[in-house]
Symmetry: C2
Subunit: 336 residues, 2 copies
């Protein structure tokens, strides 16, 4: 068994409180400090966070619930958050709910049992019902990528509407008017906003909305493939497509390949996320790039701030951070 503070106390002849005080940055006489540090080294003492947690009712652990670990956006954001939080002594317990509302709720309950001090969530359930129980604990919840109204949680998202408007605008400026969209699940606010951006940009440019120009997918690669195939089949006159998330962008490129359509000669494409993928496409894909680093940094900062306070349920106003995306030009838009 590992050494405990009792062992340190014994070895140094000091009391428990002194050791504890030393461990928590309290004032200890220089002479004793040296003795304690020596004992710690000799006995290979490492503080037992479990015991500490029992006493302080904290775990220094943050739960993370995401729809899919295997998604560049999630992985980038979570990786960076982990970086920051670990520097502050917090560990991340990550649960992948496979874009399933039932699993998402189970994951939150699992993490509640594990007594995490806070929750970071990219919600699948757009209503946020899976969070209600956790919120009652008064512990902080920070939403990423998707805001939920009425729940009072902090959130950090991209400015999705503006992003998609910009994409459509670029196409219009290049002479396109037959512009389709492969959109995501409409019960998630983020996907709604991106679709809204598309619709707004169309009407602002006098392009009439057509139902057959909009495909509602489920944010998977396969639905991107299917979405492209459907749009192309139903709208032979369509000259461009915008895509509402990264997975579906990969799907659309696969679809183009497998239908043997050339970009941008036969169809112009603007994708979402992942600069590296865009660079690897031939020709290079024009994309909307989300500021994943900034999103992560804001989320981590907010979480740390909330963890400093006692009760977040009663906290004044939730943060609703919105960050700008960047339209990064490739060669996938044809000038008509």
């Amino acid at each position: 068994m590992a050494a405990t503070i009792k062992d340190i106390a014994q070895k140094t002849g000091l009391g428990l409180a002194t050791i504890s005080s030393y461990l928590n940055g309290g004032n200890v006489r220089e002479k004793n400090r040296v003795k304690i540090e020596e004992a710690i080294r000799e006995l290979h003492f490492e503080i037992n966070e479990t015991a500490r947690g029992l006493k302080t009712n904290t775990t220094r652990t943050i739960g993370v619930v995401i729809p899919e670990l295997n998604s560049v956006f999630c992985a980038k954001v979570i990786g960076r958050i982990e970086d920051t939080l670990r520097k502050h002594g917090y560990a991340l317990m990550i649960c992948d709910c496979r874009t399933d509302k039932v699993r998402e709720r189970e994951a939150v309950e699992f993490l509640m049992r594990k007594r995490v001090d806070g929750l970071i969530n990219m919600p699948v359930d757009g209503k946020g019902r899976h969070l209600e129980k956790f919120r009652r604990t008064g512990k902080p919840v920070v939403l990423i990528d998707r805001e939920i109204n009425g729940l009072g949680c902090d959130s950090v998202c991209a400015d999705n509407r503006e992003a998609m408007k910009e994409a459509v605008k670029l196409l219009v400026e290049n002479g396109h008017r037959g512009i389709g969209m492969v959109a995501g699940t409409q019960d998630v606010l983020t996907a709604q906003e991106r679709l809204m951006g598309y619709e707004e940009a169309c009407s602002e440019n006098g392009i009439p909305l057509r139902e057959s120009y909009i495909y509602s997918g489920d944010c998977t690669i396969e639905s991107g493939v299917l979405g492209l195939e459907t749009l192309v089949r139903n709208n032979p006159e369509m000259t461009a497509v915008v895509v509402g998330n990264y997975n579906m962008s990969v799907g659309v490129m696969i679809g183009m390949n497998e239908l043997g359509l050339s970009v941008p000669e036969e169809l112009s494409v603007i994708g979402f996320d992942n600069l590296q993928f865009a660079r690897a496409c031939r020709p290079r894909l024009t994309i909307l790039d989300q500021p994943t680093g900034e999103i992560a940094d804001h989320a981590a900062r907010i979480m740390l701030e909330r963890l400093g306070k006692t009760d977040c349920a009663v906290n004044a106003q939730p943060y609703k951070v919105r960050l700008k995306t960047a339209l990064i030009p490739g060669s996938s838009v044809k000038k008509l």
Copy 2:
């Protein structure tokens, strides 16, 4: 504050031990069982795993240390492991060490302090020095993707040598003899094995090894780009390239794009990992696909088995699982 077993005891008029016994699947009189379950429901009791952990000296938490969360291979494997382990009540604490040996060691120490019950690691330090301290606790360590000799840890890896041999063989069968390789960091066994496979296949086919045909990268996208550029510049007669990992495969495709070289007319390419990326490439990339699902399932199974035993340090033989990769044909290999 949440309800404790004390509250349950009080409400039911039973003793603490009875409640505890109920919670741990012990025998409780039917009448009392009903009473307890009612009290649990009414008081919203949830077991405090921190307290339990202090007593039992376990956390039901597994540490995971990986070089890069933002890597399809890692994300896929870890996601699937998380699935299985969570079903058994285990949470995952994931640390991304950014392919840095120092950070890797820090991560392991961090997780030791968090008292994880076991460790899953895709090691960056090929010598495994970062694991020595943890191993002394007698807790299980399962290595994925990379074996370390002499450490006595279990490991689950792909059959890397065979994989690369197969790739080179396919090229030879198509008439190629000027075959370059963008290889990974040579202090990691996996990368060594892949390079060995390349070298073996060359010599078996009477192709003399040339130093200028081998580029040693560091498994990042950028090193893939640089690797391709270097090989092409130094070997104008080269007709094909094999790549030693996924990130570098993306890099090579980016390099092809940015040099304006066409696949497979000017250069044939065989990449590593990620079927979906391969499908999105134009033309579709021929790749070596790792059995990520199987790797994850083996790793999870071994971990659960080890967790069932008391001490893994003294356990007989470590598992050394090797799984076959699949060569999935695309259109990136030209028949000469």
